[in-house]
Assembly symmetry: C2
DNA sequence: TGGTGCTTCCCAATCGTTTGGGACTCTATG
DNA sequence: CATAGAGTCCCAAACGATTGGGAAGCACCA
């Protein structure tokens, strides 16, 4: 009876007067029937020209008339009707672990824009790592989404099983997953860029604040960092496993700097842990970048306003979101898209947390 | 032909084999028809019991049978079909200016949770202030949303006209608007809390970094701050109009501190401008909180990891999002909801950027 | 017997599209 | 002149739900 009784809904009635009697410009939207009448053709013919039917057996003349009618009447197909007939939803789900993280926000932005351009809706759902995605399940149950973008890097998000069990086409975003379509950025290259930049500044003893080992991005960033170090022939970086959180970064920094032979530069493999590390360094009275250089993975406006501003690696997460949408579309089209990667190279953003290695003795170690 | 040709779509075919012949547990979902058959009643009867039809003329026995059938077959109504019949979308649009701002993320989170609990979808759209909401317009054109939540505080977002012209029920979130349903938090109380706290710490000469005057929240926070100052009988705060951005906050701080008689405490009326101010203070060599206290409006994880951590006013933005959804539902139900306000009081979060006024001479001014 | 009133359920139209299967009009060809 | 084959377009059945309007069954009463 009332709108909000969604499970008990019978009638809805708000302002929008629906003029049933072949209304043209009247209160309501033009239906296909209207434009068919206006063009003097059958409704199915109208549908065919509007959809570019593959049979393509409608004359140029009628095509023009229908198009003109659709234009003057400002016809917009009713997506509910179309979706019903087509047995689809015209929407994707997008699962992210945390809305407040700027990195995910950027990804979401990219996905939204790409989807918008294709007339697709994106239903965003926030599901903290380890939590059950009940809201998302409901979306699936209600046939509200055709496919799912899972942008959670953690292996321990048990979501996947349920959705696969229900036959929801899925693309994994920002992580690799065995035998499943994935979309990633070049995390290895980003981490390698961080290391090479540190190297160029004379740092030879470097540390890395890694993320949890059950998080795919954390593994790949660590790999990229270490193998770049190997390539340049500097000692294996000392690692401390953070939690991809500010607190994790903070305690990781303490841990790294309590080494008898501490690093002169540290790479934090995500933004929040980098911010936490910066904060903790300040608490320890470690001056950055004079005594310790810091480079963080990920970029956000905030990084320009820490003290000092963070030197950072900017990854194309907006493109990642967009590519994810395209990839899911391909999956839905039946094309087996596998591991896609955004090829836009990582970008070093200046900041002021990276400086030359002052510890000359170390430089030649 | 292919999924992505949304304007040219004819057929869709991915894995999900649809078993047309009265499938029960078969590949596809159970339809209403299936549970009707299973319960041995007509489809309309099934619909009536499942929806709690107001006519209420179905016997207890059949009711039980239908319910049982729906349970065993795990019936979930097809939302496209229901929406078509009901001439609605079962979804709201949510317009926010910037996804990466944690404040909006919190609001979004609250709205999502509330909507999820009611079986509603929320389509989030990011529209920077001053930009055209083309994506959102498309959602309206496609009948994809029943109503709209506009969470942009800026007056100069010209969106509203178009949507009102198209008869889209709208609720304004986080701002007041003449003659329109709005939902807000108690910005005045938050700002007043900031001032009273500063006062308690002995500050008498205070400054405020305000937001743009054409932004409603900025006006209300400034009002709350100033009138609290009046109440306590301390001089009218010096104001500098920022831009609600870090850069704006930074230059506002410079401006305030270049006063011959600078404030001993500053209130930044949003998070980013506060962070910008903090950064700039550091650049000026102003020690916080020893030489200058800083209290910011809004809360986010990041505020705990600036140096020093920010003393801040936390507002219930998640509740705001939830209330906004409820308000829009009321509007759709025809009830004229006007200016709602989340009554949860603002909360002061410690941090370390507020300290006692060291400038004793000023304290008694 | 026939009429009235309840209770309980079924019928069928409808929401707005898409699409396989004809039906009709030409023109070309044997 | 009959027939075939294009070229166009219309018909009608879906997609899966909701709902006003009966219809059937039964009890009651005159």
């Amino acid at each position: 009876m009332r709108y909000h009784d969604l499970d008990v809904i019978n009638e809805i009635d708000w302002g929008i007067t629906v003029d049933n009697a072949s209304s043209k410009q009247g209160g309501s939207r033009a239906r296909l029937r209207d434009i068919a009448a206006h063009a003097g053709v059958h409704i199915s013919t109208a549908s065919r020209v509007l959809n570019g039917d593959p049979r393509g057996e409608v004359s140029a003349d009628t095509t023009a008339r229908v198009l003109a009618a659709a234009d003057t009447l400002q016809y917009k197909p009713n997506s509910a009707a179309r979706n019903l007939r087509l047995r689809r939803a015209g929407a994707f789900g997008l699962l992210i672990p945390d809305l407040t993280h700027p990195t995910y926000a950027t990804l979401v932005r990219g996905a939204l824009q790409e989807a918008e351009g294709r007339g697709l809706a994106v239903l965003i759902t926030e599901v903290p790592d380890g939590a059950a995605a009940i809201g998302l399940r409901r979306l699936v149950d209600d046939h509200r989404i055709d496919g799912l973008l899972i942008a959670t890097a953690s292996d321990r998000s048990a979501q996947a099983d349920w959705f696969e069990g229900h036959g929801v086409p899925t693309v994994y975003v920002n992580r690799r997953a065995e035998g499943k379509p994935t979309v990633t950025v070049d995390d290895e290259a980003g981490a390698a860029l961080a290391l090479r930049t540190m190297y160029d500044y004379g740092h030879r003893r470097v540390g890395v604040i890694s993320g949890p080992h059950d998080v795919d991005t954390a593994r790949r960033r660590l790999d990229g960092f270490i193998s770049a170090a190997n390539t340049l022939g500097i000692p294996v970086p000392v690692e401390s496993c953070g939690e991809y959180t500010a607190n994790g970064g903070a305690s990781a920094l303490t841990s790294l700097m309590s080494d008898p032979n501490p690093p002169t530069a540290i790479f934090a493999s995500n933004l929040m842990s980098g911010i936490g590390a910066l904060s903790r360094a300040s608490a320890h009275g470690i001056r950055i970048p004079d005594e310790l250089s810091l480079v963080v993975f990920d970029d956000a406006e905030i990084a320009d306003f820490t003290v000092p501003a963070l030197t950072r690696i900017k990854m194309p997460f907006d493109e990642l979101g967009a590519l994810a949408v395209r990839s899911l579309i391909e999956v839905l089209d039946g094309r087996q898209a596998r591991d896609l990667r955004v090829e836009t190279p990582p970008q070093l953003i200046g900041g002021a947390s990276l400086g030359p290695n002052m510890n000359v003795g170390m430089a030649r170690q």
